[in-house]
């Protein structure tokens, strides 16, 4: 794996971190911080979905199912630790391990789903992954040990801005490095033409399962961070509609462009919050029957507009400079 000479990603992440810390001093309130945190969680979810949908081209509609696995597994572990001794600061190493455990569990579920389904293509794969995502959610809805339909409550608030940013950075860096490597090119070849990829000796099934597992792993991490941000893991948080929301981020940003996914995760998370509050105040001002939840209608409209007028999304398959590892000179 090639490492770029100037770690621009790290510089940008550090800059973002410093900027938020400075803004905290001048009235960047908890609500704004929450939106920044939520955006970063969506960066993790969108970038990991882009690996599956964009780079290797397997249309998955069940990404939130993997996030649910990560959320419930890590949430169960940390609530247990927290009950045993409620000293938050001492538990951060345990929290990180719990997140990784959630990610691994999600990856295992990803492999379990991937093996039988990845021979399916296009629409069929989309339908099956959609079904699996709902199955996972329904299973959690019916396990009383994790709260059933009440959700898993009392998860400690371990997801701080710094932790989420660190994991977002790791996610982007790992997936970026894979996308830029020879493995990434093989994945793109599979997206472009699976038969031809097979015939030049690329193990297409192996790659698909691995990409699925890795995408699921990071989705599990994202889900874990999400649960520790909201302090609850609830089946409704991981519904189909949220998988679609992540999917829209990938498409709005540009399928195959990690830069696009990052930008779209921020833009659409902020847009969602603006729409929710905007529509709510519109309702109270005018009495129109348009609640905050109508933001989903505008979301769907956005997806339709993207598909009609800008299929390639914001970035197409292009990447910002910092996302590209410069090629070594051939000479």
């Amino acid at each position: 794996m090639k490492i770029p000479r100037t770690p621009w990603l790290l510089v940008v992440a550090a800059g973002f971190w410093a900027a938020v810390q400075l803004l905290r001093l001048v009235g960047f309130n908890d609500y704004y911080l929450f939106i920044a945190n939520l955006s970063l969680v969506y960066v993790i979810l969108a970038v990991s979905l882009n690996l599956i949908n964009g780079i290797i081209g397997q249309f998955s509609l069940g990404h939130m199912g993997f996030a649910a696995v990560g959320a419930y597994v890590s949430g169960s572990i940390t609530t247990l630790i927290f009950k045993l001794s409620p000293n938050v600061a001492a538990h951060y190493p345990g929290f990180v391990l719990a997140l990784v455990a959630g990610g691994v569990a999600a990856a295992l579920v990803g492999v379990a789903i991937g093996f039988p389904t990845l021979r399916l293509k296009g629409d069929y794969l989309a339908i099956v992954t959609l079904g699996f995502g709902e199955i996972i959610r329904t299973v959690f809805n019916n396990i009383d040990a994790v709260g059933g339909p009440r959700g898993l409550l009392g998860i400690p608030k371990f997801s701080t801005f710094t932790v989420i940013l660190a994991f977002a950075l790791i996610t982007v860096a790992v997936i970026r490095n894979i996308a830029e490597s020879a493995h990434g090119r093989n994945m793109i070849a599979i997206r472009e033409n699976e038969l031809a990829a097979d015939l030049v000796g690329i193990d297409t099934t192996g790659y698909k399962v691995k990409a699925f597992a890795l995408g699921a792993f990071f989705a599990g991490i994202g889900g874990g961070l999400y649960a520790h941000l909201l302090q609850i893991a609830h089946p409704t948080q991981f519904g189909f509609i949220y998988s679609v929301q992540v999917l829209i981020m990938v498409y709005a940003g540009g399928v195959g462009s990690l830069t696009g996914s990052v930008l779209a995760a921020f833009a659409l998370t902020i847009l969602t919050q603006l729409l929710k509050s905007g529509l709510s105040s519109l309702k109270s001002l005018t009495g129109l029957p348009i609640g905050g939840d109508w933001y989903m209608v505008l979301y769907a409209l956005l997806l339709i507009l993207i598909m009609l007028y800008r299929t390639e999304g914001l970035m197409g398959t292009r990447e910002a400079k910092l996302m590209v590892i410069p090629e070594e000179d051939d000479k």
Binding site: R185, N186, E192, N193, L195, D198
Partner: protein, 234 residues
């Protein structure tokens, strides 16, 4: 080198290949001719592990290919140029070729083979930075063959290389196939264009609705009255 015996392939309940047998000796060009739906592409797909035979055997250099996955064939020495070329459209010509070197662990060797492709197909060399999808049909076919050259197979399976090409380009491609054979690559050529195929082949087999019916040296097959009437139109 390649030996196919009593091969059967079913698509669901429909039998595509009922009894196909032929031999591909090392260093030769073997043509498999036949009309649409005769089973030519299915035969190649079965050799490449893309279809599971329901009967018969395929062996390559004495090794039974049953259960070998398609991506493993390249390592064994079989390169398959699929019907309709199937190049990677959003990757550049160079990337298309580099990808084909995936199983070759020695980067210098891949570079050497790519250079070889460039000398062999100067038109591909001219297009090196262009996206695969922007190439003309003939250039795409050359690139597809070039890709197979980079994988370095001793046996090249060619599925309808003349498909959708202007006659002048067909001649050019077939000249290149002969030249490639002279360099030591064994070739199994599947073609609807029987006249051109029989012209360059050493041996030929006629495939009819899932059976190999007529076989012999390419000249004998070309002189066969049935072949002349059904495939050569004379």
């Amino acid at each position: 080198m390649l030996s196919v015996k009593n091969l059967q392939v079913n698509y669901g309940r429909i039998a595509a290949l009922k009894d196909v047998s032929f031999e591909v000796p090392a260093g030769k060009i073997i043509a498999l001719i036949g009309s649409n739906g005769a089973g030519k592409t299915t035969t190649l797909r079965a050799i490449s592990g893309l279809e599971k035979p329901s009967g018969g055997t395929i062996s390559f250099k004495g090794k039974d290919l049953a259960g070998v996955q398609s991506h493993e064939l390249v390592k064994l020495g079989i390169s398959h140029v699929p019907e309709g070329r199937k190049i990677f459209p959003t990757l550049t010509v160079r990337e298309n070729l580099e990808l084909a070197g995936w199983t070759v662990k020695d980067a210098k060797e891949v570079k050497r083979r790519i250079e070889e492709v460039f000398t062999f197909f100067p038109r591909v060399a001219e297009r090196v930075g262009q996206l695969g999808g922007t190439l003309s049909g003939g250039e795409q076919q050359m690139l597809a063959v070039g890709r197979a050259m980079v994988t370095g197979g001793e046996l090249l399976l060619l599925d309808e290389p003349s498909m959708g090409l202007a006659p002048v380009l067909v001649d050019e491609i077939f000249d290149k196939i002969v030249a490639l054979n002279k360099l030591g690559t064994t070739i199994l050529l599947v073609e609807q264009n029987a006249a051109e195929a029989l012209d360059i082949a050493d041996f030929a087999y006629v495939l009819e609705v899932g059976y190999t019916t007529i076989s012999g040296s390419a000249k004998d097959v070309a002189d066969n009255p049935k072949v002349r009437e059904a495939y050569l139109g004379v």
